[in-house]
Symmetry: C2
Subunit: 295 residues, 2 copies
């Protein structure tokens, strides 16, 4: 099976978690009905992006990720009915006092095939994730599915060539990045375009360097900061890049969208034969990449 | 010193080595006269790109790289007179039977500060470099100069995020890539634009991921293959990317050019504070990057 339709679920979130979940489930089901075989949510799709502030109260949103989780059950039902793989980004409570920013992969049989826990955790104004999320300890993950080998990374991971490379080295045909990124209104005019372009460029670069597809799924709309201190205007523009780093489909900047596109996995083999980057890696010379800085 | 003018020397090459060298030296001197303080040549600037074929005869072009090398002496003279750093790409004869694709860095005092030997060696139709060049064994290099910390990589290296990362981790403010890349006429119509864009994108991605400047210096014009078998149309378009991955200056596709631009090294500090990617690298999780493939 070389051609597979994938779907990116881009939407806004209100303060009503139930409403967000229902909306996302409806969009996922619509995508599945329309023959999408791999469907990916945006990051933390059930809630507003609560990491804009550090508030203990938000830990209530976290949930155990297993077959008994209510959202997983609902997703599994859709997954099984339409034989679609679903990648869902959730706030995981792993233990009392250990929380992760996690992706669950439900395979085309409706089975929870496994999880990935965000490895790189940001901490910047309006993105206080180090407060909520313990850095992942499962390493990089690839799930072999009926529709291809799926690599999963999350948002801040997308700035790290090491994460993309290690996921590709594990065999990923497509790397999915559920994301929550946007403009701070006070910066947008001066830096907005540069920030957006850098985000898109670095991910397209991963696609080129690794000869694979890269998919980013972002949310839309302005979410005010709960402390009344400005907010984030999420920049949407979820996209799919082919192994040449070309954007083959991109969602709008401000509208909810089910972005569906057929991709051709044969292109991975073809690109890597013509540009055999993996053949020539100098693996004898990369040891120091495990250093913080080479003084 | 935060602001520094850099120059990219983009030109064509004939079969006459003396003529090529004189042209390049003139362009370098003109750049230096115009206040360029870091000047970089294209890859193997003294000759046509002879790697289009495997021919023992071309080893005669190789030379020992040291203070007594005639080209180094001429470059040192210019360097010293104008207090400019020069990065020169040369075919190195290291020993009988050991040849490298090498960059020499001459500092602003006219001293040969050191060399870098191309680590990643391609071998593809019209780019038979594995025949000529032993892979580098000096690792990744950064030269601390009066005008900033200069990282040097060469052409095929530019597809490898590991090379850019390791050079950045050694403190590079600017990574220079002398290059010889172009279109094969038989592929240009179908793949030409994609190939060019992938090349530019992956390097802009290195600039973003590493928060540094990236500079690529390429040659121009069509060079026929010595075996009469088509040839390469070098695509010029030497460029400078800032730490946001934005191209701040780019040369034409087919003209000889001395591309001079002032860059602001303060932007590196500023970008890395706002986007602290180095802070959050998961160096505990990158060990397997030294594997060929993770089976």
């Amino acid at each position: 099976m070389d051609k597979v339709a994938i779907a990116l679920i881009q939407h806004s979130c209100s303060e009503d978690i139930k409403e967000n979940e229902e909306k996302a489930l409806n969009m996922i089901e619509t995508a599945a009905k329309n023959e999408a075989k791999i469907i990916c949510t945006q990051e933390l799709f059930k809630t507003r992006y609560f990491c804009q502030v550090e508030d203990w109260d938000y830990f209530k949103y976290a949930e155990e990720i297993n077959e008994n989780n209510e959202t997983i059950k609902k997703l599994s039902k859709i997954s099984k009915e339409y034989s679609s793989v679903i990648i869902a980004s959730l706030f995981e409570k792993r233990a009392k006092g250990i929380y992760h920013n996690t992706v669950a992969l439900i395979n085309e049989k409706g089975t929870l095939a496994g999880i990935y826990r965000k490895m790189h955790i940001p901490d910047d104004p309006h993105f206080y994730e180090k407060f909520y999320f313990t850095p992942g300890d499962l390493g990089y993950k690839v799930f072999k599915t009926k529709y291809g080998n799926i690599g999963t990374l999350i948002c801040w991971d997308q700035w790290y060539p090491e994460a993309a490379r290690l996921t590709a080295l594990k065999g990923a045909d497509i790397i999915f990045y559920p994301t929550a990124i946007g403009w701070l209104p006070e910066e947008k005019e001066e830096y907005g375009e540069s920030q957006y372009n850098a985000w898109e460029t670095v991910q397209r670069g991963h696609a080129v360097a690794n000869g694979c597809y890269v998919v980013a799924v972002n949310r839309v709309e302005f979410e005010p900061s709960p402390d009344g201190n400005s907010g984030i205007e999420f920049w949407g523009q979820s996209f799919i890049s082919n192994p040449y780093g070309e954007i083959i489909k991109k969602a709008s900047v401000n509208k909810e969208e089910i972005l569906i596109s057929e991709i051709d996995l044969k292109m991975i083999d073809e690109t890597r034969i013509v540009w055999p980057f993996f053949r020539d890696r100098r693996i004898d010379s990369y040891q120091e990449i495990t250093k913080r800085w080479i003084d």
